[in-house]
């Protein structure tokens, strides 16, 4: 147990654990000590000096060791100097004065120093309205300047640090928060100070500039308008915007976010999303998000969105009324009955998936999840239980990451596991190739592609590692699809499941799938299944495809779709699949409606509408309900909340969940928001709900599938190569490619080869190779096994599982 100490801050007595910093002890009782450089997520540096306070300590008699009394109270001795509240830990009997004459004078004086070289261009500053410097100046600032304006330091005002982040050198107050974030939290120290003294400047020397997938966070914690995103700068004033609560839809982490919106002329009077901000959820993303989540939201505003239903007439897709379209769709489904199936993706909300599943069930058809990664039956039964939080993992916990490149697949998990490892959790990374997370792991294990299952099954036999797994107080396993397809990942899941089986239902234990989509876990929880041979399944069937684009992903599936009996597609865009459809139903983007996603950690979280729906679009669950109605089935379509009620009644693991419950909050630490912005940065306070982690009820413990398909060993030979799919954070996924800003980071579809391999092929970096008919640029990476070609998914090449392929210089 940590010792508790009692102290008095501005007359208020409080008791906090030993080691607490004064600034945090004050914060807990509602006293906001002004500060700039301190950030509760980072090591204190005490450099801005804004938080100087008077600190008194009880006088102790040297001889007796007893406190000296002043009347009946202990005598308090104040030091000659003020002390920084952000670096000074509390001690028993301490008296802190943050509002005394002396402390207030100091706060005002430091502020004056900061303002001597600040441009005071608040009217054109993006931070205006949420700037602690501005706020403090209002509180303390003197109305007149003693400094001569002509002598102010001048510096560059529009410096792109990269394509995403801009720096205004004049506004920077040298607090180093951005630098420290990149160094301590992101582990990508690509920002630094240059020069010294008054000439101290922020620089980056990386290529591309500010090369980090967490860069946007620096704009939130920058206490002034020195760092802004290329996306938002000069976009709007903070006070003109509304805040809409949401969940990031880019991966399985489920980061809590806020969409800031404004109705504006530029968008034809419509509500436009101006920026994405993280929203605090200490159990999910703390106060951070990755750049993909921050910048890849523009897809919903794209002009190519479908706004009206389409039906095929005389071979052409033509606009039609909802009434007609729904009728056609329903009648075809009714005809097909059990010869129908639903093919849906994890982009859909739980409510959408639930209705789709119900529809399929009622017609006797199947509900299939469109995915390249399997094993979800196991994450639904052996997933992490309620109470699981990476933020609380440290010594005693073992985290095993298998076949996943978390940095690219789920950046926030990467960040959280890095932090857990730094708190002494045992991180074990198992992969066929080198990945970034290895830097923080205690053990690294390499295997040859195809040997995943065997490698995992042997883990417990390995010295040290076996002990770290079996003997761990807590064990979490994350598995992914790095280099794997549906079969391989399903088999891998089964192997991993064996290791956590005995721990089912215990918080901070279990199996996590690093899913490609925000709600894949939700689909598995609802009983969706994956199908290994979609092409075959499509033949002669009526298929209801919701927000999935098999034809776009794989020419073979496009061909197969033509063999289907009838194709209903529910989509945002006229995708390759939609182009082949008989009926196209225009859906709303998730930013335009309500719903919930279930994260990979099995946390159900709500998102709310941010923008107005486009044209005649409808929410997915509502469309399904309307089709059902045509079929005489009763599905809930009036509101997402009602669908959830139905779901809670029908699905074991969702029992008890309501929209009300999902909206509940409890106090989080650090406290951000409230009266001040500077403490946590501009990150949004979470008033809208922390979500609920699903319980694992014993009844849910379905056994692992009996026939585990062993991934055959894939051994390349002579002139044949092993081509395996990998995930890149920035790819050509429809949600990403519509973001102008990220285009440069997406770059070209490139195959990653070991330098020696490239030499054999006679190509250099930047050259091209031909693989299965596609020509790809070559990038070199010494972490790739020789004779293996890593091919990124969603970059126009249809490699969805490891294949032996011919590679040649193109």
């Amino acid at each position: 147990m940590t010792k508790l100490v009692t102290l008095i801050i501005d007359g208020q007595q409080t008791t906090v654990p030993e080691g607490t910093l004064i600034v945090n002890a004050a914060k807990k009782i509602g006293i906001d000590i002004p500060l700039f450089c301190y950030h509760p997520k980072m090591e204190p540096v005490g450099m801005c000096r804004q938080c100087l306070v008077e600190v008194g300590r009880p006088v102790v008699d040297r001889a007796s060791g007893q406190p000296v009394l002043d009347g009946d109270k202990p005598k308090i001795q104040f030091g000659p100097k003020l002390e920084t509240a952000c670096t000074t830990p509390v001690s028993e009997g301490m008296v802190v004065l943050s509002q005394s004459e002396k402390a207030k004078a100091s706060q005002k004086e430091i502020l004056e120093f900061l303002l001597t070289s600040h441009p005071l261009d608040c009217p054109v500053c993006d931070k205006g309205g949420e700037c602690p410097l501005q706020n403090l100046t209002l509180t303390h600032g003197s109305p007149q300047s003693r400094f001569i304006y002509d002598e102010k330091s001048r510096a560059e005002k529009h410096v792109p640090l990269g394509e995403l982040i801009w720096l205004d050198r004049e506004r920077c107050i040298q607090c180093a928060r951005c630098i420290r974030f990149q160094d301590e939290i992101a582990g990508e120290p690509v920002l630094a100070f240059y020069n010294r003294g008054r000439a101290t400047d922020i620089i980056t020397n990386s290529e591309p500039g500010f090369d980090s997938v967490f860069s946007g966070n620096t704009t939130d914690i920058c206490p002034v308008g020195a760092l802004t995103t290329a996306d938002f700068r000069f976009g709007a004033r903070p006070w003109e915007m509304k805040a809409a609560t949401s969940i990031c839809a880019q991966c399985a982490v489920g980061c809590n976010i806020t969409f800031n919106t404004r109705r504006e002329a530029k968008s034809g009077g419509k509500v436009a999303i101006k920026r994405v901000m993280p929203r605090q959820n200490e159990a999910v993303n703390e106060i951070w998000i990755c750049d993909k989540g921050r910048f890849a939201y523009h897809f919903a505003e794209n002009n190519e969105r479908l706004e009206k239903p389409l039906v095929r007439r005389d071979g052409e897709l033509v606009k039609a009324s909802w009434e007609e379209t729904l009728k056609v769709a329903a009648s075809k489904l009714a005809e097909s009955r059990e010869k129908m199936f639903v093919l849906a993706s994890g982009r859909l909300s739980n409510e959408d998936l639930f209705n789709l599943k119900q529809l399929a069930y009622n017609l006797g058809g199947e509900a299939l999840l469109y995915t390249h990664m399997g094993g979800g039956e196991l994450t639904a039964s052996l997933g992490v239980a309620s109470g699981t939080n990476f933020g609380e993992m440290g010594a005693g916990t073992t985290i095993l990451v298998v076949a996943s490149d978390l940095y690219n697949e789920a950046p926030l998990w990467y960040l959280r596991l890095k932090q857990a490892a730094e708190r002494d959790a045992t991180l074990i990374v198992v992969n066929a190739r080198e990945t970034k997370l290895e830097r923080y792991s205690r053990f690294v294990i390499r295997y040859s592609y195809g040997d995943e299952v065997e490698t995992v099954s042997e883990l417990t036999k390995k010295a040290n590692i076996g002990e770290a797994i079996s003997g761990a107080e807590n064990l979490v396993i994350l598995y992914g699809s790095d280099g794997l397809g549906l079969d391989g990942s399903s088999a891998l899941a089964a192997a991993c499941a064996k290791l956590v089986k005995s721990r089912a239902g215990k918080a901070n234990n279990g199996l996590i799938g690093v899913w490609p989509r925000a709600n894949d876990q939700g689909a598995w929880e609802l009983g969706f299944k994956a199908e290994a041979n979609l092409a075959k399944a499509l033949k002669g069937k009526t298929v209801y495809i919701a927000v999935a684009d098999p034809a776009g992903d794989d020419p073979a599936l496009a061909t197969a779709l033509k063999e289907a009996k009838f194709v209903i597609v529910q989509e945002l865009f006229l995708t390759e699949t939609a182009k082949l459809a008989d009926v196209v139903l225009p859906a709303q983007a998730y930013t335009e409606r309500e719903g919930t996603f279930t994260s990979g950690e099995r946390r159900v979280q709500r998102f709310y509408p941010a923008a107005l729906p486009r044209g005649e679009t409808k929410a997915d669950f509502a469309i399904t309900a309307e089709i059902a109605k045509e079929l005489g089935l009763e599905l809930e379509g009036r509101s997402a909340a009602r669908v959830m009620d139905k779901m809670a009644a029908a699905v074991n693991s969702f029992a008890g969940i309501t929209y009300g419950k999902l909206a509940e909050v409890s106090e989080q630490w650090p406290i951000v928001g409230r009266g001040d912005l500077y403490y946590g940065g501009a990150a949004y306070e979470n008033k809208q709900g922390l979500g609920v982690q699903l319980d694992l009820t014993p009844g849910d413990l379905t056994p692992a599938p009996s026939s585990i398909r062993r991934g055959e060993s894939l051994r390349p030979d002579e002139d044949r190569w092993l081509a395996v799919p990998i995930t890149r954070l920035y790819d050509l996924d429809v949600t990403v490619r519509t973001s102008e800003l990220l285009r440069q980071r997406i770059g070209a579809a490139a195959v990653l080869l070991h330098p020696d391999a490239a030499k054999t092929l006679g190509v250099a970096a930047g050259g091209r190779v031909e693989i299965n008919g596609s020509r790809l640029e070559v990038r070199l990476d010494a972490g790739v096994p020789v004779r293996v070609a890593l091919v990124p998914r969603s970059m126009g090449v249809s490699i969805h599982a490891p294949v032996i392929a011919k590679l040649k210089k193109a």
Binding site: S106, Q174, R198
Partner: protein
């Protein structure tokens, strides 16, 4: 004084050669410490001698060594050879001319705190000195005074030099450690002090070159002998770096308690052109301005007496200013220095130095108005007690006291 203890090359030419040094009792103290004393006994001897740090703060060296905890390892010793305070040039002379005594001091300190590696951090400009020391260190290794299993015991020690690259702040011990770790030389918040959290986060003793050069004497001749030199408050001898408007500037090794008058007139040969002394800065550019009246001139130079003058002895870098010089020009120089050397980490120093520079430039360029002078004084005052490290405070010392003590020089 007829005999030198620190600047021994002045008595014994060639003491910079290892055989000459050995012939004159060199390395006996180190041998004695390693072969016949426990580490704690060495620390106790230094404690008892009353040796205070010569780098400026005057903290008792033995006490500092005794703070090194024995539950965190490894330990390091770092010799501070950054010597960048304007007016200070003593460490350079020691290292150039009496290098072995200094290195022996480093070695004894390392033994006392159980360090197996010691570093000498030299300012970058001491490039040739560093190369010279490297040679001396190699000689010592060859002669068996450095390396493994010294004098047949289990104790081993290596000394390395490390060059800075032009930053006054790296003389501040925590900035020095950051710099040694390959980072920007910016001070750390203290506590924790280097004795607990030093180089690479490990317990580290940082001592000035001159401080360490005293150590072999103490071990050899004993604490009592050492205490018999100097004054009760300030034991031993001290090198006074005398510069400015004197006829014979240079280093003078004298007992503590010598007066300013003796230093300037007896040793320094008096003032150029025999002008009167106007002001004294006792600790380089960081000092306050002492009005050089009779009382000041007759003040003995020890820590306590100089403090009574509203000044500090610091590293005893005595800059002498005569009546041909205007004090506003003097602080123009010091402000310029500190503005150039402020590391930029903390707000008051970074912004305050910049602001002071603007004001003094205005004052120097004919705007010696009451408002400007008062504003300068107030900005300097405003910086005080707020900075992260002493550099910021240093930058204001001459400024406030110049304006307070030499008001006439701030009027047209």
């Amino acid at each position: 004084m007829s005999q030198y203890f620190l600047l021994r090359h002045r008595d014994i030419p060639g003491i910079g050669k290892i055989d000459v040094y050995k012939k004159n009792g060199g390395f006996e103290a180190f041998k004695k410490a390693v072969t016949s004393m426990k580490p704690a006994e060495v620390t106790d001897a230094v404690k008892a001698s009353g040796l205070r740090g010569r780098g400026g703060a005057g903290f008792p060296a033995g006490v500092k060594w005794s703070f090194i905890p024995n539950n965190i390892w490894p330990h390091y010793v770092v010799a501070n050879a950054d010597e960048s305070e304007p007016g200070t040039f003593k460490d350079r002379e020691i290292m150039e001319s009496n290098p072995y005594q200094f290195l022996e001091g480093v070695a004894i300190a390392a033994y006392a705190v159980g360090a197996n590696a010691a570093y000498v951090y030299l300012r970058g400009e001491f490039w040739p000195v560093a190369h010279f020391l490297d040679e001396k260190i190699a000689e010592m290794e060859k002669a068996g005074f450095l390396g493994d299993k010294l004098f047949g015991t289990d104790y081993s020690l290596r000394i390395h030099t490390h060059l800075g690259a032009g930053a006054y702040i790296c003389g501040e011990e925590t900035a020095l450690l950051e710099s040694m770790e390959g980072k920007r030389g910016q001070p750390r918040i203290r506590p924790p002090f280097p004795a607990v959290y030093g180089l690479y986060g490990k317990p580290t003793v940082v001592n000035n070159v001159e401080t360490l050069t005293n150590v072999p004497l103490i071990i050899e001749k004993g604490a009592d002998w050492y205490k018999s030199l100097g004054t009760p408050d300030s034991a031993g001898v001290k090198i006074f770096s005398l510069s400015g408007r004197v006829k014979k500037p240079g280093n003078y090794e004298l007992p503590f308690g010598t007066t300013f008058r003796e230093l300037i007139y007896k040793y320094g040969g008096g003032i150029i052109d025999d002008r009167p002394v106007k002001a004294i800065m006792a600790a380089g550019a960081s000092s306050t301005m002492i009005v050089a009246d009779d009382k000041a001139l007759d003040t003995p130079m020890d820590y306590a007496s100089v403090r009574a003058l509203g000044a500090d002895l610091g590293s005893a870098s005595v800059i002498v200013i005569d009546d041909t010089v205007s004090i506003d020009w003097v602080i123009g120089k010091t402000i310029h220095f500190f503005e150039h050397e402020s590391c930029g980490k903390c707000t008051p120093c970074r912004e305050g130095c910049y602001w002071m520079l603007h004001l003094i430039e205005r004052i120097e360029h004919g705007e010696k108005t009451k408002e400007n002078v008062e504003l300068l004084h107030s900005v300097a005052k405003q910086m005080q007690n707020k900075c992260l490290c002493p550099l910021g405070e240093f930058s204001t010392m001459a400024v406030t006291t110049a304006i307070e003590r030499f008001p006439a020089d701030f009027k047209d």
